[in-house]
C-alpha cells in the first residue's frame, strides 16, 4: 500500500512538472500479469486443445506461423517435442520478431496455445 502511495505521488509530481503526459501515465500503470508456474487445466483435454487451435488461428497464423503449425518464416511446430514451460515462456515473452503475448492474452489463453502446440507433437509432416 505504501509503495502504491509513493508511486501515485511520484506520478502526480511528474505530471505537474510536465514530464509525463496523462496519456503516457496511463500507459505506464499497466503491468504484465505474473507468470503462472503450472497449467490450470489438463493440457491433453480435447476441449482445451480445440480452444487453443481457435486462438492459434486468430493470433498466430497467416503472416507469422504456418497454418496448423506448418513451416513459415517461423519454424514448423508440427512433429516436434517442446518443453511445456519453454513454450509458455516463448509465447509470453516473445522472441523478435515474434511478439510477446503476456500483456495481450490471459495466462489461461497462453496455456491453451501451449496445449494446442503440444498436441501437434505426434503429427507427421
Amino acid at each position: 500500500m505504501g509503495n502504491r502511495v509513493v508511486r501515485v505521488a511520484s506520478l502526480a509530481l511528474l505530471l505537474v512538472a510536465g514530464v509525463v503526459t496523462p496519456r503516457a501515465a496511463a500507459q505506464a500503470m499497466r503491468q504484465p500479469p505474473p507468470m503462472p508456474t503450472e497449467p490450470p487445466f489438463d493440457l491433453s483435454d480435447k476441449a482445451v486443445i480445440q480452444a487453443g487451435s481457435h486462438l492459434f488461428r486468430q493470433t498466430c497464423t497467416g503472416y507469422c506461423h504456418g497454418a496448423e503449425g506448418r513451416l513459415s518464416r517461423a519454424p514448423a511446430l508440427r512433429g516436434r517435442e517442446f518443453d511445456t514451460r519453454y513454450l509458455y515462456q516463448r509465447i509470453a515473452y516473445g522472441f523478435p520478431p515474434m511478439p510477446a503475448f503476456q500483456t495481450l492474452l490471459a495466462p489461461e489463453d497462453i496455456w491453451k496455445l501451449v496445449a494446442y502446440i503440444k498436441s501437434l507433437q505426434g503429427v507427421k509432416e
Partner: protein
C-alpha cells in the same frame, strides 16, 4: 540611411530566427522550397518528388556503362530483424536512412562515413506488437530529420547533428497496439504521417504535426462517423489508417493518401455492415487543415484485405487531364481525375484474379464479387499479400512507362467469427486465416512489368520464381533498378527489359533503391536485407524461403 551592423543586431536577428524556428539557409538544409523544386542530385523524400515518380534525372550511369558499376561502399545498420525495408533520402550529398528499431543514420554520400547516428530508447511495448521492428523511411526538411516510431511517437532530429529537436507521443501504443512504420511526408510547415491499424479493432488516423514543435495541427479519422457506412458499433473497431506515404499536388494544394483495410479483415457476414468508409480508399486532403476535399473508395466493404494504403499515388498529367494513378492491393490500378476523384480508368496488373470477375472501368463497380464467408474455405486470387505489396513502382517520364511488380499467388481463406479484443490492449482482428496456394493450372510466380500507367498496356515483363517485394528505381540513363527476394539486384534496359547488370548482395530486397550525385559523381544506393511479414506467407509454397538469410546493409554503387 545606411544600415549599421552591430553585435546586438546580430544577436537579435538570431533570436528572432530561433523564435520563428526559421532554419538558416545553407548546406544540408531542405526547406519547403527544396521539396517543391528538387535538385537533380538529391533524393529528398520517400518517393523523391511529390508526384511519387521515384525517377532520378541523373544519366551519368546509363545503358552503355552500367556494366562497369561496382561497389563504392557499404553501410550496415547493425539491427537486421525483419531486414532493411526503408528507402534512403539524400540532401546535399548526405544520405539519411532508418533501419529496424528506428535506428537513424546520416552518412557521407560519397564515402559512407558516418556523420551521426541516433538510436532511440524504445518502450518495451514494441515487443508485443504485430507491426515491428521495421520502418520504411524518414522525412527531411526545415533542417530536421523526422520519423514515426514503433512506440507511437514522432521524433525530429537536427539534420546536422542528429540531436533530438523534439519528440512527441501521438499514439497510445500500449492500448491500441498501433504505431508508425511508414515514412512521413513534409508539406509546407507540417509533417504528415499515418498509423498502422488495418488488422486491429481501433480507429486508424492520419496526422499532421507542426514541424516547428511537433504539436498536432490536425488529424483525420479514416473511420467515418456514419451508421449507414458502419452498421451497429462496428465502426468502433473499424481499423483503417494510412500506414504508407502519400503524394502532393502543390498546384491544387491537395495531399493524396491511401487508407488501409477495414477490420476485421474478413467479414463472416455481419461483422461490419455498410461500405465502411473511408477504408480502402484514396483521400484528397487539404494539407493545411486536414479537410477532406474528395474521396474515392476503391474497395467498398473490403472482404479480402485489399487496402489502398500501400504504395504510390502517381501525380501525372496527360492529354490536358490532371490524373492520379493509384494501385490497390488487389492488383487493380485506379486512374482518377485528381481534381475531383472521378474515375477515369481501371486496369489489372495481375493476370490471375478471381476476387471479382472484373471492375467496370467507367463506374468502378466490383462485378462478380467473390467474398469469403463462414463455412466452406474460399479459394481467392490474389492472396492476402496482394497483387502487389506496399513496395512502389517507378514512373519514367521520358519513356512514359511505369515499372511495377506483381505477385501471381492465390490463397485458401477460412473465415471465423471473432470478438474484438480491446482490453488491456488491442489484439489482432483478422476474422479468419489463410494459406497460400498456387494458381489453378500453374505455379505461383511474380513479375516486373513496364506498363503505360493510364491504359495498362504492357511493353515488357521479367518473371521471377519468388514474387518480388522490393521497390523500383528508374533513371534518365535509361535504366530500371530492382532487387529480388533471392538477393540479386539488377539493372534493366528501360526500353526492352534486357538485363544489363547484376550484383548479389547476399540477402533479399524489400526496400527502395535510389540514385543521387555528390561532387559530380552519380551513385545508386540499394538497401538489402530480407525481412517482412509478407515473407511469412512464402514457405507454404516455397519451403526453402524459410532459410533465405535475413540481413541489413546499404550497398552503394558507382562507376569504376
Amino acid at each position: 540611411m545606411a544600415a549599421r551592423c552591430t553585435w546586438g543586431g546580430v544577436v537579435s536577428t538570431l533570436l528572432v530566427l530561433l523564435l520563428l524556428d526559421v532554419a538558416p539557409a545553407g548546406a544540408q538544409e531542405a526547406g519547403a522550397s527544396r521539396l517543391l523544386n528538387v535538385d537533380p542530385n538529391d533524393w529528398p523524400m520517400y518517393h523523391r518528388t511529390y508526384n511519387a515518380f521515384r525517377f532520378s534525372p541523373l544519366a551519368q550511369i546509363n545503358k552503355s556503362n552500367v556494366k562497369d558499376l561496382t561497389v563504392a561502399w557499404v553501410h550496415q545498420p547493425g539491427a537486421v530483424v525483419q531486414g532493411l525495408e526503408s528507402t534512403p533520402v539524400v540532401v546535399d550529398g548526405v544520405i539519411y536512412y532508418i533501419g529496424s528499431y528506428n535506428r537513424v543514420f546520416a552518412l557521407d554520400g560519397a564515402t559512407g562515413k558516418e556523420l551521426w547516428h541516433y538510436y532511440p530508447k524504445l518502450d518495451p511495448v514494441i515487443n508485443t506488437l504485430f507491426f515491428q521492428p521495421y520502418n520504411r523511411g524518414v522525412a527531411v526538411g526545415h533542417g530536421k530529420v523526422i520519423f514515426g516510431t514503433l512506440d507511437g511517437r514522432v521524433i525530429a532530429l537536427d539534420m546536422k547533428t542528429g540531436k533530438e529537436a523534439w519528440a512527441v507521443t501521438v499514439l497510445e501504443t500500449k492500448k491500441c497496439s498501433c504505431n508508425f512504420t511508414g515514412a512521413p511526408l513534409i508539406v509546407k510547415d507540417k509533417v504528415i504521417l499515418g498509423q498502422t491499424s488495418g488488422e486491429l479493432p481501433i480507429q486508424g488516423k492520419i496526422f499532421a504535426l507542426k514541424i516547428a514543435n511537433g504539436e498536432t495541427a490536425w488529424e483525420f479519422n479514416t473511420i467515418k462517423n456514419d451508421s449507414k457506412s458502419w452498421g451497429g458499433d462496428s465502426g468502433k473497431f473499424g481499423g483503417g489508417g494510412g500506414w504508407m506515404t502519400g503524394s502532393y499536388d502543390p498546384a491544387l494544394n491537395l495531399v493524396y493518401w491511401g487508407t488501409a483495410n477495414p477490420a476485421p479483415d474478413y467479414d463472416w457476414g455481419e461483422a461490419r455492415p455498410g461500405n465502411n468508409l473511408y477504408t480502402s480508399s484514396v483521400l484528397a486532403l487539404d494539407p493545411d487543415t486536414g479537410q477532406l476535399k474528395w474521396h474515392y473508395q476503391e474497395i467498398p466493404h473490403d472482404d479480402w484485405d485489399y487496402d489502398s494504403g500501400l504504395g504510390e499515388s502517381l501525380v501525372l498529367d496527360r492529354d490536358g487531364k490532371k490524373l492520379l494513378v493509384h494501385q490497390n492491393k488487389s492488383g487493380f490500378v485506379f486512374v482518377l481525375d485528381r481534381t475531383n476523384g472521378k474515375l477515369q480508368n481501371v486496369w489489372p496488373m495481375n493476370h490471375v484474379y478471381n476476387w471479382v470477375q472484373r471492375i467496370d472501368p467507367k463506374s468502378g463497380e466490383l462485378i462478380g464479387r467473390n467474398s469469403p464467408r463462414l463455412g466452406k474455405p474460399a479459394f481467392i486470387c490474389p492472396w492476402i499479400a496482394g497483387g502487389r505489396s506496399w513496395n512502389s513502382g517507378s514512373y519514367n517520364p521520358k519513356t512514359g512507362l511505369w515499372y511495377n511488380t506483381a505477385m501471381e499467388v492465390c490463397e485458401e481463406v477460412t473465415v471465423e467469427k471473432q470478438t474484438p479484443v480491446t482490453e488491456p490492449a488491442a489484439g489482432l482482428f483478422f476474422g479468419g486465416d489463410q494459406v497460400a496456394k498456387h494458381p489453378p493450372g500453374g505455379e505461383a510466380y511474380g513479375h516486373l512489368d513496364a506498363r503505360d500507367p493510364v491504359t495498362g498496356e504492357r511493353k515488357w515483363s521479367v518473371n521471377f520464381k519468388y514474387p518480388p517485394i522490393g521497390s523500383v528505381l528508374s533513371t534518365a540513363g535509361g535504366l530500371v533498378i530492382h532487387g529480388d527476394v533471392e538477393g540479386v539486384v539488377r539493372a534493366y534496359d528501360a526500353d526492352s527489359g534486357e538485363e544489363l547488370w547484376h550484383f548479389r548482395t547476399g540477402s533479399g530486397h524489400r526496400g527502395g533503391p535510389i540514385s543521387y550525385s555528390v561532387n559530380g559523381k552519380q551513385y545508386i544506393a540499394v538497401p538489402s536485407g530480407l525481412g517482412s511479414l509478407v515473407l511469412g506467407l512464402y514457405p507454404a509454397l516455397w519451403p526453402e524461403v524459410a532459410d533465405f538469410p535475413p540481413g541489413g546493409a546499404l550497398f552503394v554503387f558507382s562507376l569504376k
